[in-house]
Amino acid sequence: MLGTALAPLGNPSCIRSPRLRLAKLVAPPTAAPAAVESIALAPPRPFAEREWVLLLSRLIRRRTALFGLVVVLAVLLAAVFAPLIAPFDPLAQDIGQRLKEPGWQDAQGRIHPLGTDHLGRDILSRIIHGSRIALSVGLSAVLISGVLGMAIGLVSGYFSGRVDDIFMRLADVQLAFPFILLAIAVIGVLGPSLRNIIIVIGVSSWVVYARVVRGEVLSIREREFVQAAVALGSRDWRILVRHVLPNAFTPWLVVATLDMARVIVIESALAFLGLGVQPPTPTWGGMLADGRVYLSTAWWLATFPGLAILVTVLGINLFGDGLRDTLDPRLTV
């Protein structure tokens, strides 16, 4: 067991302190200290052999995952440096320049690569700025639902019985609702704001995490190192946090990555229906809704924001698929 835990290419989630700690605790104090030290103080591995470096190199060897990673990084950079990258002010209206086709050059010789919208605003700049809402909703909502789902999954899987029953029925209730419909109903009541959108999506997306983590916990809690911790008299919460959680983290990370794509689509759908972050803040879904009106005269208004969503979601999905295949091929999410 210890051998596999220390093998540099073992499942990275297993290379965690619990087992090493266990080895130290279990070893009788009179045992040869040299043996213990050689386990606890394994020489630091060179940079190229660190787990995450190895993991990353295996990941980018898959071409589709590499493509996904590049897309995700590009969107992330666009969001962070939007004001620097965007060629125009995304809010600057110019009625004289309205509905100009992609590649249009204005009087000062400045080019609008993706054209302008019905208020003469530059579409490329609005798409670049729109990534900010998409990513901030995506990251925050995933964080909320991820933490919530992790906690529920841990408790549900570890304690089983009545607690598990209650949480799993709650999960069934949550899944019974068509997600978008519940979200628009609640946001319709609370009012559309960035905070409300993040909270509503975050609080109602915990089920996938809880189910996956719970499944992992059910098998982890039967393993030797957990049994040993129980035998040593560790408290439940300590076992959960120190021994179970680190080992359930890998599948959680895969689910979180793939769920991010879903959240971004939901945010856009809400904005499309008029229940997203309100104008004039540019959102991809809101731009699409604007463009829908001008479909027969100016196709570019609705086409490009949709492509932005498509490429972002595709990138995240490919990266997530690659992450899953690298970390945990058994996982079906």
Binding site: F179, I180, L181, I184, G188, S268, T303, L310
Partner: protein
């Protein structure tokens, strides 16, 4: 078997109760349901009158039980905008939504299963790559954008199909494709991976070894065993389809429950919203209950669990 059915039925009833609690709470999220039901410029006197009339001054538990009693009888109150019972309005729109969701599901099954099988049989051949790329795109494409692009190409440019409304089969084509594509992609990928797994099993090798020709091996021996996860996902995908219908119906002006609820939310017509959410969620629970029962016939192992 009987014990399993009873347990499953009991679970479904519990879930429906949970659904009713959530639907009840929608109206109480802000703490003052009367303010939601009246226009923003309503006077304090109007508010007090409505609170009294609808019993909003009673304890929440009493209000919930009253709501539950109404819900069981299909009574969600009157639509504030149309003056008709909310339930009637929603029920009138249900067939349109079921037709759309059914058509979407039919497309998904009719395209997804064969595509997945061919992909698996011709693994790593050009056909497989094409199907995989289409499935990946289908999963990444937002419903509303796909719908708008279909309208742009097939209605605005080519004029082949109408872009809105419900009528004959022509009206159904674009909305059904829009709604069904995501599920098609899911089923394609699921069928492909399921078939790949089954095709590597010993009984397939045995069938081939005893001289069964390739088509029956694939379509009979392999597909029957690969179909179990597909049946499971059909029940779950129904939720995706009903949720997706909200967007698809809005884009194509399809007169179903989804479009009605979006309009009701903007009109602050909450009885209609509650009735719609409750009915769609109940549909999902009931269909999944039926799927689970059907499942026990496909996979006898489950009866003894």
């Amino acid at each position: 078997m009987k014990a399993y059915l009873i347990r499953r039925l009991w679970q479904s009833i519990l879930v429906l109760l949970g659904v009713s609690v959530v639907v009840f709470l929608i109206l109480h999220l802000t703490g003052d349901p009367a303010a939601l039901l009246l226009p923003p410029d309503a006077t304090a006197e109007d508010l007090a009158k409505l609170r009294e009339a609808l019993g909003f001054n009673d304890p929440v538990v009493v209000q919930y039980l009253r709501f539950l009693r109404g819900a069981v009888q299909g009574n969600f109150g009157e639509s504030l905008r149309h003056g008709e019972p909310a339930m009637t309005l929603v029920a009138e729109r249900l067939p349109a939504t079921f037709q759309l969701a059914g058509a979407g599901l039919a497309i998904a099954l009719a395209l997804g299963i064969p595509a997945g099988i061919i992909s698996a049989v011709r693994r790593n051949k050009p056909v497989d790559y094409i199907a995989t790329v289409i499935a990946l795109l289908g999963q990444a494409m937002p419903t509303f954008w796909l719908g708008i692009m279909l309208i742009l190409i097939f209605s605005v440019r080519l004029g082949w199909f109408p872009s809105s409304g419900r009528g004959d089969l022509e009206h159904l084509v674009l909305p059904a494709i829009t709604l069904g594509l995501f599920t098609t992609a899911r089923i394609t990928r699921l069928t492909r991976s399921g078939m790949l797994e089954v095709l590597g099993q010993d009984y397939i090798r045995t069938a081939r070894a005893k001289g069964v020709s390739e088509p029956p091996v694939v379509w009979k021996h392999a597909l029957r065993n690969a179909s179990i996860p597909i049946v499971t996902i059909v029940g779950i995908e129904l939720g995706t389809l009903l949720g997706g219908s909200v967007i698809t119906e809005t884009i194509f002006a399809w007169p179903g429950v989804g479009r009605l609820s979006v309009q009701a939310i903007f009109n602050r017509d909450y009885p209609v919203v509650q009735a719609a959410v409750f009915l769609l969620a109940s549909t999902f629970v009931i269909v999944n209950f039926l799927v689970d029962i059907g499942y026990t016939y496909l996979d006898p192992r489950i009866r003894f669990r």
